[in-house]
Amino acid sequence: MANLNLENLNIHYEDFHAVKGVDLSIGDGEIVTLLGPSGCGKTSILRSIAGFIIPSDGKVILENEDITLLPPQKRDMGMIFQNYALWPHMTVKENIGYGLKIRKLPSKEIEEKVMNLVKQVQLEGHETKYPGQLSGGQQQRVALARALAIEPTILLCDEPLSNLDFKLRVELRTEIRDVAKKFGVTVVYVTHDQTEALAISDSIAVMNFGNVVQLGTPLEIFSNPNSHFVGRFVGQNNLLNGQITNSKNNIAHITLSSGDVVEQLLEKSYENKNVKLIIRHDDLILSFDKNDTNLISGKLSYKAYMGNFLQIEIDLNDGSKIMANISDQLEKLVSMELGSEISLQMISNKALVFDEEDNRIH
């Protein structure tokens, strides 16, 4: 229930510059995800918002107030930890009510609020259990309720779902989003899981090497990545090197390093330009017609049946590889032997193209 600004945030660990001058503005009630590979500085940012790390430079501003140096206990922020961090010697109820007890609320009011939260996170009947008696999913629900109990200015989530199995992750991320929206709380969410980020966020800050490389809505991040790093990180895809051999009416012929040639509509016409192509696994289909355009050919080197599609990998002429998820003509593919010649067709204009300076040119 507050907006949060990070201004030129820098964090050093001895010689390691973990966060490099990050500026970020988070609106009231917004769910913002810091997404990036491990070591990119996302958790450091979260911990400096919580007050566990004092940044070496820069400011954390909450509702126009500089809180950079404020101790964690005075920030009124709820946090969900990666390993739950539930106190094993307290019951579910005591865990959830702890922050309220610290705030010296009358015990009757604490009881009411706790029971309401217990209901919200569907833990009725478990109030008097200890964390050790709960499943992982239930423990994470307790952690969520505990963080929300203090009616936090900001809810901080540090990879809260990474210890859960896939089904629970999907279930709980929806639940966290629903509950957060219901309470109208501002959320800063840290994850390295791009699907989780896409599903839960209002906006995503993709991070790499201590910088925010792109900030945008999930749709923008997915369909309009501003660098080949973001493109690679979000979605399942292949990175191929190529060269624009000639263009006509902004349609470029790109020769891949394997020798295959694909056509792609670009912003303008280029000649003799080295480019990087990102092609999503879903944007390739099987082709048996040598006259098709946008063909990429090689030898089938791997196939795995995934239920509604078949994941395959193809060795290209120059030793590079390309992966695809194929959902058409499965019978033909299933019977195909490894090592057989095979061609994939890139769906027109679906590639993301970046020039040598990593500028998106389509």
Binding site: F52, Q73, A85, P88, I102, N163
Partner: protein
């Protein structure tokens, strides 16, 4: 209701029958493990359970009846119970009889043997708790320059058994100790002397606080850092975090550590014996010392043990066994501080300002000075000629030490022989016992586990009494038909080695057990799967993997064997079989040579603990045994 009871009986007997059937099946399936179990159970049965039952029996039966009159006598004797302190000469006395100085004599209370023992235990425990917890917090949660060095210094008290400290204490802080004669008297014209219960509590706490410190420190370091962060995040102040999260999580460690200190200090015979040897009359009034002096007197006078000894021993024994089971409960609980998945980050330590730093270091300097006084005292005393001031340095004490023919050399020889043989037996038996207890599922496993670890809590004095009762042919009632004439006064070495083996067994078992726990059973299965026999698997896979633990466990057993006091004092009656500790506790003035022997023990202990530490890397559990 009545009709239910036959059913109940039947279920009980059928339970027993089922157990017997399953044991028979297990024996057929795994004869090797069961031979080990049976052999070790027989060993402990004969040399631990039967002697202890004999003690208990003597406490509750005399000629087939409950010995009311003996109890009455004990409770009525002022020497045992003196709550109104009639025998007490003084608590604190200021003595100005010497014109050169005023002596402040702090003797503490004297409530009679029983209450003194309880006072001694409780006071040492409280003092150790306060110092141990406070020190552990500073070490675990405050950023201190030179922390590694401090940590090393804090382990030094462990390298000297508390009773050896008594000698160093007398040399420095006694009435004629160097601190009094060289510092306090010339500078302030005073002497300050701790005596009686105060002196014993001081010496014990200076040693035992390390046990609490190690336990609490490891609890604090093993807890999940995010548990404290979560509390800070909820708005808890530093103090509230400690009170609501840190302390409750460390509580099992604190509880088990303090029970251990309570048991060890109440059954400590060496410290009272040292002070009593120097002429302190109040130091004689503890249960352990009373038992020792009575055993010596009555065996030489009448050849029989008076019935009251069984009662006093049974009292100590019951207390220790209750304590042991409480420790067990708490150590099982200790694991709950680690239920959360994985650990996040490290603890944020407080960064104190310069004033706090000065305060903290002053604390450490005072603590270390006090706890190292015995070591310094022993070192000085070992290199000087006794009773001569100013100090005259000399190595004559050490020369006497290595004179194997007469006196002190023979004590060292005995100590080494007894300790080494016992350690050898322990290593073989404890490795086998640790293996079956860790790897095999068998009926009665938890009872077996209890049996091989409970000696940790059994007072050495009591085991010694048990041996005398069982083998000594006294007028105590024999247990069943087992009454061997195996006079401990004649066969002391054999009995001693057996008692060492029983008493120090748990330390090696612990070490082996810890090693096996880190070694996945899958590794054995992999060898079986490739066709290796059971014996071969043990030889090729298990032993190489846990050999370090076995070595470390053996070293701990060796060190503790060498410094064993209680059983040795009770069982050894002639100089021929005397060990180093026996000679030390019989101190009659020869402080220099005793100190030299103390240095020798200290050196061996330090060396062994250092090696153990390097090998096991898990100080608290290995050294304290819990």
């Amino acid at each position: 209701m009545e009709s239910n009871s036959p059913d109940l009986l039947e279920t009980k007997s059928s339970n027993l029958r089922e157990k017997l059937i399953s044991i028979r099946r297990e024996m057929r399936d795994d004869p090797i493990s069961w031979s080990i179990i049976i052999f070790i159970t027989a060993f402990f049965g004969l040399f631990m359970i039967v002697p202890l039952l004999q003690v208990m029996f003597g406490a509750f039966f005399s000629n087939g009846n409950f010995p009311f009159s003996t109890y009455q006598e004990i409770f009525q004797r002022q020497y045992f119970f003196d709550p109104s302190r009639n025998a007490d000469t003084y608590f604190i006395r200021i003595d100005s009889s010497d014109p050169n100085f005023t002596a402040y004599l702090l003797k503490g209370p004297d409530y009679g043997v029983f209450l003194n023992t309880i006072f001694m235990g409780v006071a040492s425990t409280i003092l150790s708790l306060v110092i141990g917890i406070f020190t552990a917090f500073l070490m675990a949660r405050v950023e201190l320059p030179g922390k590694t060095l401090l940590g090393g210094f804090l382990l030094i008290p462990l390298v000297l058994p508390p009773f050896v400290s008594g000698i160093g204490y007398m040399a420095l802080l006694g009435y004629n100790g160097l601190v009094n004669t060289e510092i306090l008297e010339p500078l302030f014209g005073i002497r300050i002397v701790l005596q009686g219960m105060f002196a014993i509590v001081f010496v014990q706490s200076a040693h035992y606080f390390t046990l609490i410190y190690l336990n609490v420190y490891s609890s604090l370091m093993n807890a999940d850092p995010s548990l404290e962060e979560a509390a800070e995040n909820m708005g808890a102040t530093r103090f509230q975090v400690v009170k609501n999260v840190t302390l409750p999580l460390a509580l099992p460690g604190i509880a088990s550590g303090s029970i251990l200190v309570l048991i060890l200090s109440m059954e400590d015979l060496g410290t009272p014996a040292i002070f009593a040897g120097f002429g302190d009359l109040t130091a004689r009034k503890t249960i352990t010392y009373y038992i020792l002096s009575t055993v010596r007197q009555s065996l030489s006078e009448t050849g029989r043990l008076p019935a009251e000894l069984s009662i006093l021993s049974a009292f100590l024994l019951i207390l220790s066994i209750i304590g042991f089971f409480m420790i067990r409960r708490y150590t099982e609980k200790r694991q709950y501080s680690m239920i959360s998945k994985g650990r996040a980050g490290t603890f944020r330590t407080a960064n104190p300002n310069i004033l706090y730093l000065i305060a903290i270091y002053s604390y450490f300097i005072i603590l270390l000075t006090l706890s190292l006084i015995p070591h310094i005292g022993i070192f000085i005393a070992s290199l000087t000629e006794p009773g001569i001031l100013p100090l005259k340095w000399s190595t004559s004490n050490y020369q006497e030490l290595f004179d194997l023919e007469n006196g002190f050399g023979s004590y060292i020889k005995n100590t080494m022989i007894f300790s080494l043989i016992s350690t050898g037996v322990i290593v073989i038996l404890a490795t086998m016992a640790g293996y079956v207890a860790n790897r095999k599922q068998f009926t009665g496993r938890s009872a077996f586990d209890t049996m091989i670890t409970i000696p940790l809590a059994i007072p050495g004095v009591v085991l010694g009494i048990g041996f005398i009762l069982l083998f000594g042919g006294t007028d105590a009632i024999p247990f069943g038909n087992i009454q061997l004439t195996f006079n401990p006064l004649i066969y002391a070495p054999i009995i001693l080695i057996i008692s060492y083996t029983i008493r120090k067994f748990p330390f090696t078992v612990r070490a082996v057990y810890a090693g096996l726990q880190q070694t996945d059973a899958v590794l054995e299965e992999a060898a079986h799967n490739l066709g290796a026999s059971k014996g071969r698997t043990i030889y090729n896979v298990i032993i190489p993997l846990i050999v370090l633990n076995i070595v470390a466990g053996a070293l701990i057993a060796l060190v503790y064997n060498m410094s064993e006091v209680s059983t040795t004092l009770i069982l050894v009656n002639t100089q021929t079989h005397g060990t180093v500790t026996w000679a030390m506790a019989d101190a009659n003035g020869k402080i220099g040579a005793l100190a030299a022997m103390g240095m020798f023990l200290m050196f061996l202990q330090a060396l062994s603990l250092f090696i153990t530490n390097v090998l096991l890397k898990n100080r608290a559990e290995a050294i304290t045994g819990i």
